[in-house]
């Protein structure tokens, strides 16, 4: 058997990136295969090429093998078989450091920044230049120059914890570029951005392609983004490349169908429901965030039976505090919450569950579930106090198991058994269990905080359908989402939030996406 000597990236000269001609293949993967212990074939002979000055999107549902492929390209894991070529040179990445040296930059969806440090410190962190004495001034100038070149607005001296998600992403991109990335891998680049921020990112990517950089966004669910951003799309399903096409030839419908493997309904039918009596009335509610600052300012609204109120907004504008205050996880600073006419402002959390309030939190793994518990024990989170399953202090685990089986069946949860730990489930299945558990209580009010965020197309559609079903069953729903399309398609009323205030409450029939987009960006004040 012939043996090829390892290509040692360390020994390579930095001039591998000289004289790039636009359109030339700068990164090529051939036959990438990865099988995990347990037999899951995450990547099955994946081939693809990235050209200089091109945006090549990788599209696929959760579990399609995107994360594995991304990790292989960035040296986080090694493939079982297959080769990677950078400008025609075969390379093997033993660690991200190797990948970075070869000009590959990665922008993680879950930001890997130090919150207490400044933007500049984060950018310099881990850079080879910063191993000895750092010339902060020069470094700052260089960073600012890069940011300006690509139209990013970021203050290098700001502390990272002060930044919005969009700004943090900018820091990660600048960090990658500062380290000399020629191929930029973006993991779900627009999932946390406002429409305005998305627009700006697209412009920056445009400039990058002019500079002959290769950009590879990995995308699960933002199909319009794929169409807007990319030149070419590779679609993965179950670890294989199912298709590769020029974006110009694609539509949202085609992409979704190839990705899911069946036709997907985009426009959910919203049945006509006659709203009933008010379920929740919120009056001048204010609350503080974890830093002790007022983050929710005098918010008032009413939601009736059979209505969905969509709270639109960018992360960090008080929606999260609103949800937690309504459920009692956060104390109200002032104002009142009336639930079916009863003042619940200062009621303990458990009493709110018992009265018929239900909450599906955005933090599904940290708050919404207990990873080390089985599915049955997780379902018990909403039933340990319920007389149907709690007999004189003893829990009816057999009954709870049957209940869990019913939820698994009704919500189409993929799991080998209700007795496995919930941390073994994928994000979509986890959310189905949480939602199923909360909805099985038949709550009169459902507060759904980012119910479809991070879910793939199939699971998103399912979760949204279940919320509409609850609405048909005369439940009141408060839907918190950063996805304006979701808000527009599900809500009866839309309340855009900006800096802790509800800007306006509009009937969904009259709401325009651009106006709401402006409202949540703080650009549109009250009419």
């Amino acid at each position: 058997m012939p043996k090829v000597k390892d290509v040692e990236p360390i020994e390579l000269h930095g001039d591998i990136w000289k004289h790039i001609t636009p359109g030339e293949v700068i990164l090529e993967a051939r036959g990438i295969t990865k099988r995990y212990p347990g037999g899951v074939l995450a990547n099955d002979h994946i081939d693809f090429k990235i050209r200089a000055g091109e945006v090549h999107a990788i599209l696929g549902e959760n579990g399609a093998g995107k994360t594995t492929l991304m990790s292989i390209l960035f040296g986080l894991i090694q493939p079982d078989a297959g080769e990677i070529y950078v400008r025609g040179l075969q390379v093997r990445f033993r660690s991200p450091e190797d990948a970075i040296r070869m000009g590959i930059g990665m922008v993680h969806q879950h930001r890997k920044l130090v919150p207490a440090h400044t933007v500049l410190e984060n950018i310099l962190l881990g850079h080879p230049k910063s191993k000895g004495v750092i010339n902060i001034k020069d470094a700052e100038e260089e960073v600012v120059a890069i940011a300006e070149r690509y139209g990013f607005r970021v203050d290098p001296r700001a502390r990272v914890w002060q930044l919005t998600e969009g700004e943090k992403q900018v820091v990660e991109i600048v960090k990658a570029l500062y380290r000399g990335a020629k191929i930029l891998i973006l993991d779900e680049p627009t999932s946390a951005l406002t429409p305005v921020e998305t627009e700006r990112l697209l412009e920056s990517i445009e400039t990058m392609t002019q500079d002959a950089l290769g950009v590879v966004p990995f995308i699960t669910h933002k199909l319009p983004m794929v169409l807007a951003i990319s030149d070419e799309v590779t679609i993965l399903r179950r670890g294989r490349v199912v298709d590769r096409l020029k974006t110009a030839e694609a539509t949202e419908q085609i992409l979704a169908q190839k990705m899911v493997g069946r036709p997907v309904i985009f426009d959910l039918k919203k049945p006509d429901v006659t709203p009933g009596k008010p379920v929740i009335q919120v009056e001048d509610l204010s609350a503080r965030n974890n830093k002790g600052l007022i983050a929710l300012k005098n918010v008032s609204f009413t939601v009736r039976e059979g209505e969905i109120l969509g709270i639109a907004g960018v992360a960090g504008n008080g929606q999260h505090e609103l949800a937690e205050t309504l459920m009692g996880l956060r104390p109200a600073e002032s104002g009142r919450i009336l639930f079916n006419g009863q003042d619940v402002t200062h009621l303990p959390i458990l009493d709110r569950w018992k009265l018929g309030m239900g909450y599906t939190p955005a933090e599904r793994t940290d708050v919404g579930s207990i990873g080390d518990f089985t599915l049955v024990e997780n379902v018990a989170m909403n039933y340990y106090f319920d007389n149907r399953y709690n007999h004189a202090g003893f829990l009816d685990y057999r009954g709870l198991r049957q209940l869990t089986e019913r939820i698994i069946e009704e919500f189409d949860v993929a799991t080998p058994s209700p007795d496995v730990k919930i941390q073994t489930l994928s994000g979509g299945n986890l959310q189905k269990i949480i939602l199923g558990r909360v909805l099985s209580r038949e709550p009169k009010l459902i507060i759904a905080n980012l119910p479809a965020q991070g879910l793939d197309v199939g699971a998103t559609e399912f979760v949204q359908r279940k919320l509409l079903e609850a609405r048909s069953n005369q439940a009141a729903v408060i839907l918190i989402s950063e996805d304006l399309d979701e808000i527009l398609s599900l809500s009866d009323w839309i309340a855009p939030m900006y800096e802790g205030e509800i800007v306006d409450i509009l009937p969904a029939a009259e709401a325009k996406k651009d106006i709401i987009g402006a409202m949540i960006a703080g650009l549109h004040q009250e009419h």
Binding site: G82, M327, I349, L350, V367, E377, M381, N382, F394, L395
Partner: protein, 379 residues
């Protein structure tokens, strides 16, 4: 890692059947005993003889077994005192303080009934009930302080329980030494001896507290496996944020687990000083038992908070502390070798928990024929 064409890989386990966990623990004990043999060999002793002496005395000698069981009961209570807060994610390091206070309260009952100077007129069952209740309440009070501070202001429970140990230690000292109210008439730095009616009865040579251990085992097992309260404690222990979301009140859990844990530690104090034949007083060396209670904590940790498994570990350590001491005297081994052996087993048991989380896979390395450019990985 690849060695001679075989690939050795570490795999994270997703689940572990109970029998495997037990097997690893037994292997750990065997490994620890073998390793400690070297020390005995170095001391010029045959390990076989030493272990025969240790285990023979601890478990197969009628007198030694009684001593071992007394220690076992003590460690079992101490272990439960640790396990209940531990399942809620909280660390009770205050068993010594709680058991000192439990012992003081039990003796306080006798003192108030006039038992310091003469026998009691009250019937024995009533006296015993009062003593046990007092020990439970006093231990619970001591534990409850930590639980309250933790639940109310999130004060670190480890620091609080440890500091309370010092307070309780000196409180005992004040009560039994130099003219303290519980001082023995002959001085000697120990408490008065319990009158006949306050001494715990024996059931087949063993203190009746042995029965309490098994009742507690069943109770604690049911608490965590079947009861709503146990579920809430476990949920809080695994994820305080998720538990809070589900309506479980952190303050209530913190206080409850420390009340329960403290009460059981109080019982340990009652057991050793008021129920073990031949003791029946708060000994001058009471601090020794405070320290010994930490073996209850270790046994709770090794058994991962399992109320049944912990009894086996407690029995092992209880026996070793007796057998080791006896072997040390008989065979003229170095001072402290008994505790060194217990320490070695403890480390071995903890080290073997690696196998609870990982398994080692050895496979023959094959290179796929269709990919001739694959390189041998020697990293």
């Amino acid at each position: 890692m690849t060695v001679a064409g075989y690939q050795i890989r570490l795999l994270r386990r997703t689940s572990l059947p109970g029998w495997k966990a037990a097997l690893f623990s037994i292997l750990a004990i065997v490994f620890g005993l073998l390793l400690f043999s070297l020390i005995f060999i170095q001391a010029g002793q045959s390990p076989r003889e030493v272990y025969k002496q240790i285990f023979g005395y601890a478990f197969f000698n009628a007198y030694g077994l009684r001593l071992s069981i007394n220690r076992f009961i003590f460690l079992a209570f101490a272990s439960y005192a640790f396990i209940i807060p531990y399942r809620a994610g909280l660390w009770n390091i205050g068993m010594p303080g709680q058991l000192y206070l439990g012992a003081l309260a039990a003796f306080g009952v006798v003192y108030l009934l006039g038992g310091k100077t003469g026998d009691l007129s009250m019937p024995q069952p009533l006296v015993l009930t009062l003593m046990v209740l007092a020990a439970l309440v006093a231990g619970a009070f001591m534990g409850g302080i930590a639980g309250f501070l933790k639940g109310k202001w999130n004060v670190n429970e480890i620091v609080v329980t440890m500091m309370l140990n010092f307070i309780a230690f000196n409180l005992v000292s004040f009560m039994i030494k130099d003219g303290g109210p519980f001082m023995n008439v002959g001085g000697r730095g120990e408490s008065f001896e319990l009158p006949e009616a306050a001494r715990a009865p024996l059931l087949a040579d063993f203190p009746y507290t042995l029965v309490l251990v098994f009742l507690l085992m069943i109770g604690i097992y049911l608490l965590f496996a079947r009861m709503s309260l146990g579920y809430q404690i476990r949920a809080f222990g695994k994820s305080p944020a998720a538990a809070r979301y589900a309506g479980i009140r952190p303050f209530r859990i913190s206080v409850l687990v420390f009340l329960m844990g403290g009460a059981l530690a109080g019982l340990a104090g009652y057991h050793y000083f008021a129920a073990v034949p031949g003791v029946y007083k708060i000994a001058r060396t009471y601090a020794y038992f405070g320290d010994l209670s930490f073996y209850g904590m270790i046994s709770g940790l090794i058994s991962l908070g399992n109320p049944i498994a912990t009894l086996l570990v407690a029995l092992l350590f209880g026996g070793l502390s007796i057998g080791g001491r006896s072997a040390q005297g008989k065979l003229h081994l170095g001072f402290g070798i008994d505790y060194a052996l217990m320490g070695m087993l403890m480390i071995s048991l903890v080290a073997f928990q690696f196998f609870y989380h990982y398994q080692i896979l050895i496979t023959k390395k094959t290179v796929p024929q269709s990919h001739p450019t694959m390189t041998e990985d020697l990293s």
